[in-house]
C-alpha cells in the first residue's frame, strides 16, 4: 500500500527550518518505499523562493496570503486544516517545534485523526506507521502503531538526517487559494531579539554547555576556566538560564540557540529533547553526567559517567599543561 | 649634740622611687644643698615618707643637733603633717620644718632633667633661706559643747538624730514643715526592694518623737548662727501652729469639727492633688500628730468670727491658742548636721513637655502620691476624668543632664522611673513606655531591679523625649484626650510617636530654693549647682570647709535613700568624734593683729571669708578669732597699716624665700 505523506513546512526570518528537510527526506524515503508521494505545505507571504528549495517533494502546496506573512498559530491551523482536508494524506508530519506544537494536536482534534508526538523514528510496515517516540525526558522510548488514515506525527528535530531532504531538484509548486482568515482572534505584533551585546555562540567553534548537574552558580566559574583554556564559550540548558546564572543569549535548545560547533561538551546535561534540538548537529559531542542512563549519551560521541566537579578541573589542568611550553 | 644657738639645717631629698629621681639628679641636688650656708647635713633617700625615712630625720635631729629641717619631696598637702610628726619625734618644734615640692612642681611637669634639677636647686636654696626664720609655734585647743543640732527632718536628718541620740548625745532636730518625714513620706514604695516607704519610715519617725535625747521642733526654722566649732549659738524660730504641742494628744477631732465640712485648700503634701481644711495634719502618720492651723484660711484667724467648733471640741485639753506668736529660741551646740534635703525640678520650665498645660502630664512626685494608698485617689492611678490610663509614658531626665536647666544627673530618676513603671503597670496593666537617655542602675541590687522591670514588659526606649503634644482635643464631657510623646528611638534610628493617656515627668533633684541663705548662715560653700560643698569629694564627703558643720543627705547632692541614710550615719559619726574628743586643736598658721599698730579702719572685717574678724569696741581695734581663722592671708595682705601678720608667713620668712629664689646664678 502506498503512503501519501504531507509535510508541513515552517520558516523563520526568511529561512526554512532544518527540521523541514529532515522530515522531507524521511517522508520521501517512506513514500518511495511504499510507492506514494510527498507534498509539502508551505504557508507564508512572498515565500516562493522557499518553495523552490523543496524540490524533493512531489509537490509544494504554496499558500501565499498577507495574513500568513508572519506565523500566527490560528491562521496556520486554519489553513493547514483546509489543505489536509482537501488533500487527505495518509500521514502528516509536523515539526515538534515551537510552531509545530501549536498546531499538531489541534489538527488531530479538528480532523479526528490520531496524533503522536516526539517522534524519533518512523517506519511503515504492513500498512501501518510505526512511530518511536522519546518520552519521559528521554528515559523511555514508546513504539506506537498508527493506521495510515491521516495520522499526524510530530517529529523531534534531529531525528533524521537533514541532508536527505536537501536534494536539489526543481520544485513543482502549486499555489492554493487561502480563505477564511478575515476575523483573526490573534494578531502577530513583533519579533523581539534578545539583546545582542553578548558573544554569538552560534559562531563559536567550541562550546562548553552546563545543565542542572552544575548544582550551583560557583561551579560556573570552574567551567568558564575550562572554556577559556579551550578557547570556547560557556552556554547552558534552560534550567541554568532560568536560574539567572547565565544570560538567555547563552541558552541552547528549542527556545534558545541552535548551534553547530566543532565541539559541544555537555556537562551535567541530561539531554532532554528541547535541549538536544539545539545542539544535535555539533561535529563532536562529549557528555559528562553522573547518570549513566542520561539520554545525552544517546547522541554524544563520547561519554563519561562522572561528577563534573571531578572531570572539569582535571581536563582544565590537562589542557593547560598541553598548552604550556615544554 | 648641742647646737649652741647656731642654725643647723638638715636637708633631705626624696627619690620617690623614680617619680623624682627618674628626672631630677637627686645626688646633685643633695650635694648642692650641702654647700648652702647653715646646712650641716644633706641626705637623699628612696622614700622619705616611709617609716625609715622619717626615723632618719628624727635620729639626725637627736644625733646631729639639727634645729631646722628642709625636705625636698612631694606636695606639702600630702606629707607636711608626716614630716612635722617626724621632726616632733626628733624633739624639735614641728613648725621648724619646711617642704620643697620638687615632684608636682618638678619631676612630674618637666621633661628636661637638667633644667628640672636646676629648678630643684633654686627651690631648695629658697627653702633653706626661709627655714632659718622659722620659729617654734604651738597649737591651741578649744572645748567642744556636747549637744548637736540637726537641721532638716527628712530621712537623713532623722537617721543622724537617732544615731547621735543612741550614742547618748542631746540632739535638737529642727524641721520647718509641720511634720518630719520629708520626701520619703510622700513616696509609695522604695526601689529596688519595693518595700513600703511609710512602713519603714514611720517607726523611725515615732522613735524620734519618743527618744528622750531628742528635742523635736517642727514647724521651725534656723534664723541665725553664731560661734564656731565646738560652740555654736543657733537661733531657731518656732512658727505658731495655734495648737500647743504640750497639750495636744493628737486625737484630731478638731479637724473633723472645723466648720469646713470638706477640704477646700490645696493640700501641700499631696502637691495640690487633693484639698485640705484650714486645720490639718499633713498626712495620717505625721510626727508630731499635732494639727496645724493655716492662718491664711482659718476663719477665726482671718476674721475673728468663727463658731470655733474646733476649740469647743478640745475643751477638755484646751490645746488651742490662737494668740500664739512666732518664738525665737537660742540653743548652744558643739556641732551641726545639715540635712536640709532637696527640691524637685519645676517641670513648667520645659515648655515643650506641657506640664501645667495638659491635664494628663504629671510629675513623678505627683505620680508617687497617686499610686499611694493614702494619696488623693486612694492608690488608684486615674486621669482627672476618672479613667485609668491604658498607656503611660515616663520621661526620664526632666531638667537633668541639660545645659539649659541642671547639668547634673539627678541619679535617682532612672530607678524611681522604673519603680513607677512597675507600680503603674501593676495597678493598671497599662502599656508603659520609659524614655531614657542612659539607663543608670549602679548600686547594689539596682541592675537586678532594672532587669526585673524590663522583663515585666515595660517598653524601654532609648531617646530623650523631644515633644509632647495632644493627639486630639479634650472632649466636652471632660474626657481627657491622649498626648503624643515624640522621641528618636536611638537604638533603631527611628522617630517614635507614641500616643499615651498619661505622661509622667521624672523631674530631677535640685537644691532647696533657700539653700543659698542656709549656706550663708552656716558659713559653708556650695558647689557649682548650688548643693552644699563637701570638704573633699572622696576623703571628707560629709565634712564642710567649716569645722563642726556636717552634711547629710541630698542637700549635698542628689542621692537615694540608702545613700542618704549612710551619709547621715557618717555625719553623725563625724560629729560624735568631734564631741567625744572634748576639744579641737587649732593649727597655728593663723593671722593675728598687732594691736598697737591697728588703726581700727575695719577694712579687713568684711573681707574675711570665715567671719573670723570682729571689731573690739572697747579698744577700737580689729580682733581675730583664732578658732575661726583658716590662715588664708586675705586680711594680712589687705591691711593698709600692715598691722595684721600671720604665723608661718611672716615677712622675714617670705622675703628670705624670695631672695633665695632670685639669687639664681
Amino acid at each position: 500500500m502506498h503512503a501519501n505523506i504531507l509535510v508541513i513546512a515552517e520558516h523563520l526570518k526568511g529561512r526554512l527550518s532544518g527540521i523541514v528537510f529532515e522530515m522531507l527526506g524521511k517522508a520521501h524515503a517512506l513514500a518511495t518505499e511504499t510507492g506514494g508521494g510527498v507534498e509539502v505545505l508551505l504557508m507564508g507571504h512572498g515565500v516562493r523562493a522557499l518553495a523552490e528549495e523543496l524540490g524533493l517533494a512531489s509537490r509544494v502546496l504554496l499558500c501565499d496570503h498577507p495574513a500568513l506573512a508572519a506565523y500566527t498559530p490560528q491562521a496556520c491551523l486554519d489553513v493547514a486544516e483546509q489543505v489536509i482536508a482537501r488533500r487527505a494524506p495518509d500521514l502528516v508530519l509536523i515539526a515538534s517545534s515551537s510552531m509545530g506544537l501549536d498546531i499538531a494536536a489541534p489538527l488531530s482534534v479538528r480532523l479526528g485523526v490520531p496524533h503522536v508526538s516526539s517522534c524519533r523514528d518512523l517506519r511503515i510496515t504492513a500498512g501501518r506507521a510505526i512511530v518511536t517516540s522519546q518520552m519521559y525526558g528521554g528515559k523511555m522510548l514508546v513504539e506506537s502503531h498508527l493506521d495510515l488514515r491521516g495520522a499526524i506525527v510530530s517529529v523531534l528535530p534531529g531525528a533524521f538526517p537533514e541532508d536527505a531532504g536537501r536534494i536539489a531538484r526543481e520544485a513543482v509548486i502549486e499555489a492554493l487559494p487561502v480563505e477564511g482568515l478575515d476575523a483573526p482572534h490573534m494578531r502577530f505584533t513583533r519579533l523581539i531579539e534578545q539583546s545582542g551585546t553578548d558573544i554569538d555562540i552560534t559562531q563559536t567553534p567550541v562550546l562548553i554547555a552546563v545543565g542542572r548537574g552544575i548544582q550551583n552558580r560557583e561551579n560556573i566559574a570552574m567551567v568558564e576556566e575550562l572554556a577559556a583554556i579551550a578557547q570556547g564559550a560557556v552556554c547552558a540548558s534552560r534550567p541554568v538560564v532560568d536560574q539567572g546564572w547565565l544570560p538567555m543569549t547563552r541558552q541552547i535548545g528549542r527556545s534558545g540557540m541552535i548551534v553547530k560547533p566543532k565541539l559541544y561538551m555537555a556537562l551535567g546535561i541530561s539531554g532532554a529533547p528541547e535541549h538536544v534540538e539545539g545542539m544535535k548537529d555539533a561535529e563532536l559531542i562529549v557528555a559528562v553526567n553522573t547518570d549513566a542512563q542520561a539520554p545525552i549519551f544517546g547522541i554524544a560521541h563520547y561519554g563519561v559517567v562522572a561528577d563534573i566537579a571531578d572531570v572539569v578541573p582535571a581536563l582544565t589542568e590537562a589542557l593547560r599543561n598541553a598548552h604550556a611550553p615544554a | 649634740m648641742n647646737s649652741n644657738g647656731a642654725i643647723r639645717i638638715g636637708f633631705y631629698i626624696c627619690h620617690c622611687g623614680t617619680n623624682i629621681a627618674g628626672v631630677i639628679d637627686v645626688d646633685a641636688v643633695a650635694a648642692y644643698a650641702a654647700s648652702l650656708p647653715g646646712v650641716v647635713l644633706s641626705r637623699d633617700y628612696k622614700y622619705m615618707c616611709s617609716d625609715p625615712g622619717q626615723d632618719l630625720i628624727a635620729q639626725d635631729i637627736r644625733e646631729q643637733g639639727l634645729n631646722r629641717i628642709v625636705v625636698a619631696s612631694c606636695s606639702p598637702l600630702l606629707h607636711e603633717r608626716t614630716f612635722r610628726g617626724a621632726v616632733e619625734r626628733g624633739g624639735l618644734n614641728p613648725f621648724l620644718v619646711h617642704m620643697v615640692n620638687i615632684r608636682e612642681h618638678g619631676s612630674w611637669v618637666h621633661e628636661d632633667g637638667g633644667l628640672a634639677t636646676t629648678k630643684a636647686m633654686d627651690l631648695v636654696r629658697a627653702a633653706v633661706r626661709r627655714v632659718v626664720h622659722h620659729i617654734p609655734l604651738e597649737r591651741s585647743r578649744v572645748p567642744v559643747h556636747p549637744d548637736v543640732l540637726v537641721v532638716g527632718g527628712g530621712i537623713a536628718g532623722i537617721h543622724a538624730a537617732l544615731t547621735l541620740a543612741a550614742a547618748g548625745k542631746k540632739v535638737t532636730l529642727v524641721e520647718r514643715e509641720p511634720s518630719i518625714g520629708g520626701h520619703m513620706a510622700q513616696f509609695d514604695k522604695t526601689f529596688p526592694t519595693l518595700d513600703c516607704a511609710a512602713c519603714i519610715l514611720t517607726p523611725k519617725m515615732t522613735a524620734v518623737k519618743a527618744h528622750p535625747n531628742i528635742t523635736l521642733w517642727t514647724y521651725s526654722e534656723v534664723t541665725a548662727v553664731k560661734g564656731s566649732v565646738g560652740n555654736f549659738t543657733v537661733t531657731v524660730k518656732r512658727k505658731p501652729r495655734y495648737i500647743r504641742e504640750d497639750l495636744c494628744v493628737g486625737c484630731l477631732e478638731c479637724i473633723d469639727a472645723c466648720i469646713y465640712k470638706d477640704g477646700k485648700f490645696a493640700d501641700e503634701f499631696n502637691l495640690g492633688l487633693s484639698k485640705r481644711k484650714p486645720i490639718y495634719v499633713p498626712f495620717p502618720q505625721a510626727v508630731p500628730a499635732v494639727p496645724v492651723v493655716d492662718p491664711e484660711h482659718c476663719v477665726h484667724l482671718k476674721t475673728g468670727k468663727c463658731k470655733d467648733l474646733c476649740v469647743q471640741i478640745c475643751a477638755e485639753r484646751n490645746a488651742f491658742d490662737f494668740d500664739q506668736q512666732p518664738e525665737f529660741i537660742d540653743i548652744t551646740v558643739g556641732a551641726v548636721i545639715l540635712a536640709t534635703g532637696f527640691t524637685t525640678f519645676d517641670a513648667k520650665r520645659i515648655p515643650y513637655y506641657g506640664y501645667g498645660v495638659y491635664p494628663n502630664v504629671y510629675t513623678a512626685l505627683e505620680a508617687e502620691r497617686l499610686v499611694n494608698a493614702s494619696g488623693p485617689t486612694g492608690g488608684e492611678i486615674v486621669l482627672p476624668d476618672g479613667r485609668a490610663p491604658a498607656s503611660v509614658a515616663i520621661v526620664h531626665c526632666v531638667g537633668s543632664r541639660d545645659a539649659d536647666y541642671n547639668r547634673w544627673c539627678s541619679r535617682v530618676c532612672c530607678m524611681y522611673s522604673l519603680k513607677l513603671a512597675h507600680l503603674i503597670q501593676e495597678h493598671t496593666k497599662a502599656e508603659i513606655y520609659n524614655f531614657y537617655i542612659d539607663m543608670r542602675s549602679a548600686g547594689k541590687s539596682m541592675e537586678e531591679f532594672y532587669n526585673r522591670v524590663s522583663e515585666e514588659g515595660v517598653h524601654l526606649i532609648r531617646g530623650r523625649v523631644a515633644d509632647i503634644y495632644p493627639e486630639t482635643a479634650n472632649g466636652k464631657d471632660g474626657h481627657i484626650g491622649r498626648v503624643i510623646v515624640q522621641a528618636e528611638d536611638t537604638l533603631i534610628g527611628r522617630i517614635r510617636k507614641i500616643p499615651v493617656d498619661m505622661v509622667i515627668l521624672s523631674v530631677g533633684l535640685q537644691p532647696q530654693d533657700d539653700a543659698e541663705d542656709v549656706r550663708r548662715m552656716f558659713n559653708i560653700s556650695c558647689s557649682a549647682g548650688g548643693f552644699f560643698l563637701e570638704r573633699h569629694p572622696k576623703l571628707a564627703p560629709v565634712n564642710t570647709f567649716t569645722d563642726g558643720i556636717y552634711l547629710a543627705g541630698a542637700c549635698q547632692g542628689p542621692k537615694d535613700i540608702p545613700d542618704a541614710v549612710a551619709q547621715a550615719g557618717a555625719a553623725a559619726a563625724e560629729a560624735l568624734a568631734l564631741i567625744d574628743a572634748g576639744f579641737v586643736e587649732l593649727e597655728p598658721n593663723t593671722a593675728y593683729v598687732m594691736e598697737e599698730e591697728c588703726s581700727g579702719c575695719k577694712s579687713c572685717i568684711p573681707l574675711c571669708p570665715y567671719s573670723a574678724i570682729s571689731f573690739a569696741e572697747d579698744v577700737l581695734k580689729a580682733t581675730i578669732n583664732a578658732v575661726l581663722c583658716k590662715g588664708c592671708g586675705t586680711c594680712v595682705a589687705s591691711c593698709p597699716s600692715a598691722s595684721i601678720r600671720q604665723h608661718l608667713f611672716e615677712d622675714a620668712q617670705i622675703f628670705s624665700e624670695i631672695e633665695g629664689l632670685l639669687t639664681h646664678a
Binding site: 506544537l101 494536536a105 518520552m135 494578531r187 567550541v206 572531570v311 589542557l319 | -
Partner: protein, 257 residues
C-alpha cells in the same frame, strides 16, 4: 481576571522508571508522581496575573498521582479553588481523552484565560491544552514565557519563544488558552506548614470526570528503555586519565590548540 489552570501529575524522573510486565506501560508499583514542571509555571503565571489584576485562579486536575497534594499546594500558593476530576485513571490517560474531560468540565463556565503547561513528559499524543482550545473554539498559543493582560480591551499580549533566542509577540482576544513554557518568575515557594494548614482548612471540589475516553486511536505496542549510551563511546577511569583521553580526542579533532 478569572483564570483556569490545568495541572497534572507526571512520573517523577528522580526515580528509576520501569516497564511493566505487559511491556507497554510504566510499572506503577515503583512510580512516584510529581507536578508537571510546565504546569507549575502555568500556575505561577496565573498567580502573578491575579496579583496584578485581581480576580480568581481556579485549578483543575484529573485524579492521578498525588493530585490532592498538588491541588492543596496550589491553594496554599494562592489559588482560589481547586477541582479534582475523579475517574479511573489507574493506567494514566491520553491527552485527547483528558481534553474531552476538561471540555465537559469547562463548557458553560466563565473565565478569561486558561493556562496550562505547554507540554508534559508523558504527552504521547500531544498537549491537552491545545486540544481543549479546539474543543472550546478558543485561540491557542503555546511555548509562551510572558503574558500581559489588557483588561480594558479584553486581550492579552503574549510572548512566544522561538529558536535562537527570539521572542514573537502576539495579541490574543480573550478568552484564550495559553500553553506556558515559563512563567515570568520561577514558581514560588510555599511553606510546608502553610500547605498542611491549607489541607486542614480548605477543601477540594471533587466531581466525576465526564467525557468519552478515546480508545485505540494510538496503539502502544512497546515501551522500553533506550539503549544505554546509544552511540557514545564511554570513557572510564580516574578523572586524570579521562582528562588525558579527552585531550587526545580533542587534539585528534583539531580542537583546543
Amino acid at each position: 481576571m478569572n483564570i483556569v489552570v490545568l495541572m497534572k501529575q507526571v512520573p517523577d524522573l528522580v526515580e528509576e522508571l520501569e516497564v511493566d510486565a505487559g511491556g507497554t506501560l510504566l510499572d506503577r508499583a515503583w512510580l512516584r508522581f510529581i507536578t508537571s514542571e510546565y504546569d507549575d509555571h502555568a500556575l505561577e503565571q496565573a498567580l502573578l496575573l491575579k496579583e496584578q489584576h485581581g480576580g480568581t485562579v481556579r485549578v483543575l486536575a484529573l485524579d492521578m498521582g498525588e493530585a490532592d497534594e498538588m491541588l492543596f499546594t496550589a491553594l496554599a500558593k494562592g489559588a482560589d479553588s481547586a477541582v479534582k476530576l475523579s475517574g479511573d485513571f489507574a493506567t494514566g490517560i491520553d491527552s485527547h481523552s483528558a481534553a474531552g474531560i476538561y471540555r465537559h468540565a469547562l463548557e458553560g463556565a466563565s473565565f478569561d484565560l486558561i493556562l496550562t503547561g505547554v507540554q508534559a513528559i508523558d504527552d504521547l499524543d500531544g498537549p491537552a491544552g491545545a486540544m481543549l482550545a479546539t474543543h472550546l473554539g478558543l485561540p491557542y498559543i503555546g511555548v509562551v514565557s510572558g503574558i500581559d493582560v489588557d483588561t480594558a480591551n479584553g486581550e492579552a499580549h503574549v510572548r512566544k519563544e522561538y529558536p535562537g533566542g527570539l521572542l514573537a509577540e502576539f495579541t490574543v482576544d480573550l478568552p484564550a488558552v495559553i500553553g506556558i513554557q515559563a512563567a515570568m518568575q520561577p514558581p514560588r515557594y510555599v511553606p510546608i506548614s502553610r500547605i498542611r494548614q491549607t489541607m486542614k482548612t480548605a477543601s477540594i471540589d471533587e466531581t466525576a470526570a465526564q467525557g468519552e475516553r478515546i480508545a485505540g486511536a494510538i496503539s502502544v505496542e512497546r515501551m522500553y528503555k533506550p539503549e544505554r549510551a546509544g552511540s557514545a563511546t564511554m570513557l572510564e577511569g580516574s578523572a586524570d586519565s579521562i582528562a588525558e583521553r579527552l585531550l587526545d580526542i580533542l587534539t585528534e579533532h583539531g580542537i583546543g590548540r
